[in-house]
Symmetry: C2
Subunit: 204 residues, 2 copies
């Protein structure tokens, strides 16, 4: 599959590594094309870098920027995202307090993305996996929410290829639970000495 990842940060690196290992074509797009190219080079031959030019050709677009950036690009690219699977991975966390979300009450970042890009098949995924764990080997749970069942299935299939365990939790209304719980996961890192490398999981 051809996957376009927007943003060239740590999460893009982690997801990109997994997808490349899983046999997929990865395009990294960033405001800074050089940074995108650098990351793509690290990812390997089946990855390429580019500027924030176009989503054309990509079967899946992963918005891997912070909340505000994801919302902005969803709005700017609304036309070309129509009909595409758009994965929102962000956590709309209030980083001043690490004790709340910055989204309006009852709404998830995924809801906001879906509003900004009507007609896109918005899927929430990868918001509970820390980049350090993605960049390493080892199976991880990836929670998937979205209103388009086929889109959820396709992201689940990407996850399986990438040695991740997809957990399909259903409609987009559940994205808020994923975001609110991940806030807690982040908040307690000091308390549990997690070092930002713990994995949220349903353990056997």
């Amino acid at each position: 599959m051809e996957v376009l990842i927007i943003g060239a940060g740590d999460m893009s690196r982690g997801i990109g590594l997994r997808l490349v290992r899983g046999g997929h074509q990865v395009r990294i797009a960033d405001r800074d094309p050089d940074q995108a190219a650098d990351l793509a080079e690290d990812l390997g031959d089946s990855a390429s870098g580019e500027g924030l030019d176009s989503a054309a050709g990509a079967e899946v677009v992963i918005l891997a920027m912070p909340y505000e950036g994801n919302k902005e690009i969803a709005g700017l690219w609304a036309d070309q995202l129509k009909g595409k699977i758009v994965v929102d991975i962000c956590n709309p966390v209030d980083y001043d307090t690490l004790d709340g979300l910055v989204t309006p009450p009852g709404k998830s970042a995924a809801d906001e993305i879906a509003e900004a890009a009507p007609g896109a098949k918005v899927v929430k995924a990868f918001n509970t996996t820390f980049s350090s764990r993605l960049a390493n080997t080892g199976r991880l749970d990836v929670f998937i929410a979205g209103d388009d069942a086929d889109a959820r299935k396709q992201i689940a299939s990407l996850c399986t290829d990438a040695d991740l365990r997809p957990i399909d939790v259903g409609g987009r209304k559940h994205a808020l639970a994923l975001e609110a719980f991940q806030l807690l996961h982040m908040k307690v890192q000091g308390e549990i000495e997690g070092n930002w490398s713990t994995a949220l999981t349903f353990a056997p």
Copy 2:
């Protein structure tokens, strides 16, 4: 510590076993005093059974009934719960669909309990641990939310005694995230072949 557990079901058994092993005095109270006595006998010498008579003497009261039952007893016992630590363990899940909560939007069951029993130090805990895991040995994460910091600390201390890892997530406003995420944990049991014995955890 003297802990009064309301309800004589599987969760009461699991929590009771842990607390008895941890060296605490456990009172089981149920509408059916015989059922309470039977469970207490299973738990051991430091446990006793009684009817739904009174919370007097208990330092901690654990409401271990389903949502409606917890809300009802919180209201009926509002006067005697004043100033006490009251632990709400329930999941206000819509069991017809397993796809939503029955609480009003934006409110947790813990919020409702706190409204029903003003002045009680309401703590959300034990709602993400399946009874089967509590009844076995092995460390488990217990997520704790509540507005009274000292009450959270005391429940955390009980958990540590009971070979559980307390994770203090802060104020009661976070109880909704615990309930909404546990709904997902329940919902996907079939998908992940969890057999109602998986553990929600932040794994190292």
